[in-house]
């Protein structure tokens, strides 16, 4: 991968650069160096164990959080750099906050209001698990480039057609979003300012044009690749197929610790 600027990128959409790697933070660290397939397996195992932990064991979630903060620190990434990404959680935070008010079961008096006890526990459980799961996903995306992740999926025996679609998708995502940004600029240059549903026919027309251009580009790319001998599988680049057992063992430390915490939490409940 080519090294790229790591500061906050202003006007990402308008300039259209590297939409796909927007979460990626280029650093040199042991976490970045781990093979993508190892990271995928470890991330999935970790999230599953976190989700299985009973919410009543509150301490366990703080331990998980501390573990993940440690991993992020090992990746040489500052927390503030990934913090904005947690915004995807907002609709579910709203849902969780409402829960003590609409939940069932016995009520607890908290200040002036009566809150459902079960509702409070589920709100806590949802918030904690969703946040930690998101944290794991963010660390994965921040330390692994898109192409490495696709390579990892390939090594984990993902269906070849899906991998091929993913490959062409990550190659052209910036091309297509650039195209969309150019169309948007062209509309603005002609005095268009979208306000309210009356602008929808124009925007829909742009989107239709974007589809036609994407489709035609797909045809051209397909023919060009066929003429260069493409048969449905790309030559494998990047990381080797075999991973040293020591690497697996080191990476498995995280899910192992999480498993220990999870088991303790289950047994002490």
């Amino acid at each position: 991968m080519t090294p790229r600027q790591t500061g906050p990128r202003v006007g990402d959409h308008a300039t259209g650069h590297l939409v796909g790697d927007r979460l990626y933070v280029a650093r040199s660290s042991r976490i970045h160096d781990l093979p993508a397939k190892v990271k995928l397996v470890v991330a999935l195992a970790t999230v599953f164990l976190i989700v299985l932990t009973p919410p009543e064991a509150m301490w366990a979630f703080f331990v998980y959080f501390a573990l993940l903060v440690t991993v992020l620190a090992m990746a040489n990434i500052k927390m503030v750099r990934v913090l904005p990404r947690f915004i995807v959680e907002v609709p579910f935070v709203v849902f969780a906050v409402l829960m003590p008010f609409i939940g069932q079961g016995p009520r607890l008096e908290v200040g002036p209001v009566l809150l459902s006890e079960a509702g409070l526990w589920s709100a806590w459980g949802l918030l904690a698990k969703a946040t930690l799961g998101l944290f794991v996903s963010i660390i994965l995306a921040a330390t692994t480039t898109m192409s490495d992740l696709v390579e990892g999926l390939h090594q984990l025996k993902f269906p070849s057609l899906i991998v091929a679609i993913l490959t062409s998708m990550i190659r052209y995502v910036n091309v297509v979003t650039d195209e969309a940004a150019r169309m948007s600029r062209a509309r603005a240059a002609r005095g268009f300012s979208g306000k309210g549903p009356r602008s929808w026919p124009i925007l829909a027309h742009s989107l239709g044009t974007l589809f036609i251009r994407s489709y035609e580009r797909g045809e051209r790319v397909h023919i060009a690749m066929l003429s260069r001998g493409y048969t449905g599988e790309l030559p494998q680049l990047g990381q080797g197929r075999t991973v040293a057992p020591a690497t697996w063992a080191a990476a498995a430390l995280l899910p192992a610790l999480v498993l220990t915490v999870c088991l303790t939490a289950v047994l002490t409940q």
């Binding site: 995807v88 079960a118 899906i162 091929a164 993913l166 998708m169 297509v176 239709g208 974007l210 797909g218």
Partner: protein
């Protein structure tokens, strides 16, 4: 201050960037993108199983019409769905709507390829954008790619079979398909919540809230889907897979009638 030609240009460019029309691409956030821990593990795993099986069948069917080597085309359609989801449609009062794009995808490239394309988009969002939980990936593929297509395609085909393949009928069909696809995704979420919800909330209340909100979101999706399909139909009707075969049959019948008369 150095105001050479380059910085003058970039200043102008940044001014342009802030016009509302130019906020074209933003990330969409959707309530039906389930995070980790919202639905319990057994139901998540069951959904992952169902999704894997359905996507496998769709892959098989897609392969019949498209060889592995045609992946670049499917990839670019997936990129288009991805970009369409980031496309802002201003609703007024500073808010804007986004599409899921599943109904649009199945109408444009057919049900099987459509499911594959939208599934890939959901996978990309979970893995590269941390949008939707890793353990909830099966649930999200089920809701956003499979259930949407499962109702959108029959709804669209029913309308164009009954009312013909004129532009108005196709747009109405696309609108209905877009509307029901969003409701199907929301209903899928409610069902999953009823079976495997980890929250102690009355399922009825969740159903009312989800379906209520998504009636509105679905209406927006329907209108946009209709407009986009209409726009493509007037320029490249051959790219609207959902009507290509019917239009061909109609043409054949017309020419047959012309010969007979």
């Amino acid at each position: 201050m150095n105001l050479g030609p380059v910085s003058a240009y970039s200043r102008r460019a940044s001014l342009l960037r802030h016009t509302p029309a130019n906020e074209g691409l933003k990330e969409r956030r959707h309530l039906v993108h389930v995070p980790d821990g919202f639905i319990d593990v057994p139901v998540s795993l069951a959904a992952a199983g169902v999704s894997t099986a359905v996507v496998a069948v769709c892959l098989q069917r897609t392969r019949k019409t498209m060889s592995d080597a045609a992946a670049p085309m499917a990839g670019l359609v997936a990129v288009f769905v991805f970009a369409a989801q980031m496309f802002n449609f201003p609703v007024g009062a500073g808010t804007s709507g986004h599409m899921i794009g599943a109904a649009l995808a199945v109408i444009l490239i057919g049900p099987y390829a459509g499911v594959v394309a939208v599934s890939v988009v959901v996978i990309v969002q979970a893995l590269f954008f941390a949008d939707g939980g890793l353990t909830a990936l099966g649930l999200n593929v089920l809701n956003l790619a499979i259930l949407t297509a499962l109702v959108a395609w029959p709804a669209f085909r029913l309308v164009v079979r009954v009312f013909g393949t004129g532009k108005a009928a196709v747009m109405v069909g696309a609108g209905i398909a877009g509307f029901v696809s969003v409701l199907a995704a929301a209903a899928g979420f409610v069902m999953e919540f009823a079976v495997g919800g980890t929250a102690a909330v009355d399922t009825g209340a969740v159903a009312v809230a989800m379906l209520g909100v998504h009636t509105l979101i679905g209406a927006i999706e329907g209108v946009i889907t209709a407009l986009v399909v209409g726009a493509i139909l007037s320029v490249r009707p051959d790219l609207v897979t959902g009507v290509v075969d019917l239009r061909k049959a109609e043409r054949a019948q017309r020419s047959e009638e012309a010969v007979l008369s």
